[in-house]
Symmetry: C2
Subunit: 199 residues, 2 copies
């Protein structure tokens, strides 16, 4: 994926937004992961899904397989995640996800991730050191202003410069402070997933 | 729902498109039903879901509860179904759906429904007479030209005149011959639902 390509594609760029569905925190189980493909910030192109373990260690593998195995894969130009953790503390290794899929990966959150708090929460989980290293490996989230210049969002990027990442985010955030693919992935994942009974 | 309202709302009209997911035909089971809310033909507003029985008789009840129980209900102005049958031959009573939800209901198919073939298929199912009556009760599908004037689509309507239904369909079919809400509901329902294992 060359930057030239990204410059050329502009408004037509195919973005994959990924978010997780509802789950019961700290309880062993699977959580629905939904990926939504948008063409630029306007057109819904398709959907893909997988499941990962709550607080598990399989998110990078499962996301990679979902993306590379999808019929949309050849069109995709960038992956946008709602933060670096899915399904609780199932940390995504965004550098590995980038190298396996050969697609730039951008994480976006509306609040600055509190690394101290995350570090503390990890202590109660198995392989806390491995999880913490994945978080550090992704690099510190960088504050940028969103498209309307008012709200701030926090961004990490792998396989792409922060400058190009910013331009993609502004181009594709047509309805909110995050790319439309991510906004809609959130709506679908939370709208379709069901909490397990009796919880 | 008055026609005046529909005229006034125009491009901003909230449309609910409903389609079913994958299922194994003729095998007892549940099928995912996805409803997608669009504002006009452009903006994805939200998603709702339910499950119905394959070849069952519960689609009208389940759709009514899903719609009336949704947080989007107060904004909705029209319901668009991908034909009158969901999950095999679980026939939707569109007149009852209209009266319970107090929303106009439009069915859209790209091919003219073959009523003789449907009648024949129904013979193998329990309560075939009841199902057939629901199909007749919906009225004969009317051929109309889609937004680009080339393709034909087939439409039934309850609680709304065919003329107003036509205008809504043309206004909201921004990417294909059917309203964007219905196109996206189809993509989500088929993309998220999984066939039961061993089938």
């Amino acid at each position: 994926m060359s930057w030239q390509n990204l410059r050329a594609i502009k408004r037509e760029i195919r973005v994959l937004g990924i978010d997780d569905g509802a789950f019961v925190p700290h309880v062993k189980g699977q959580v629905l992961i939904v990926g939504v493909v948008f063409r630029g910030g306007l057109w819904f192109e398709g959907v893909m899904h997988t499941k990962i373990a709550v607080d598990g260690l399989d998110s990078t593998d499962k996301l990679s397989s979902m993306i590379v195995g999808s019929s949309h894969y050849p069109q995709l130009r960038v992956v946008v995640l709602n933060g670096i953790t899915l399904g609780g503390f199932n940390v995504v290794d965004i550098k590995t996800l980038n190298s396996v899929t050969e697609l730039p990966v951008i994480t976006v959150t509306r609040e600055r991730p509190d690394l101290n708090e995350i570090h503390k929460a990890l202590e109660n989980l198995p392989k806390s050191k491995q999880r913490w290293e994945l978080i550090l490996r992704a690099g510190e989230p960088v504050e940028i202003t969103s498209r309307n210049q008012k709200a701030k969002i926090y961004v990490q990027a792998a396989g792409i410069s922060l400058d190009v990442a910013k331009r993609i985010l502004r181009l594709t955030s047509t309805r909110s402070n995050v790319p439309e693919a991510l906004r809609v992935a959130h709506l679908i994942a939370s709208g379709i997933s069901e909490l397990p009974p009796h919880n």
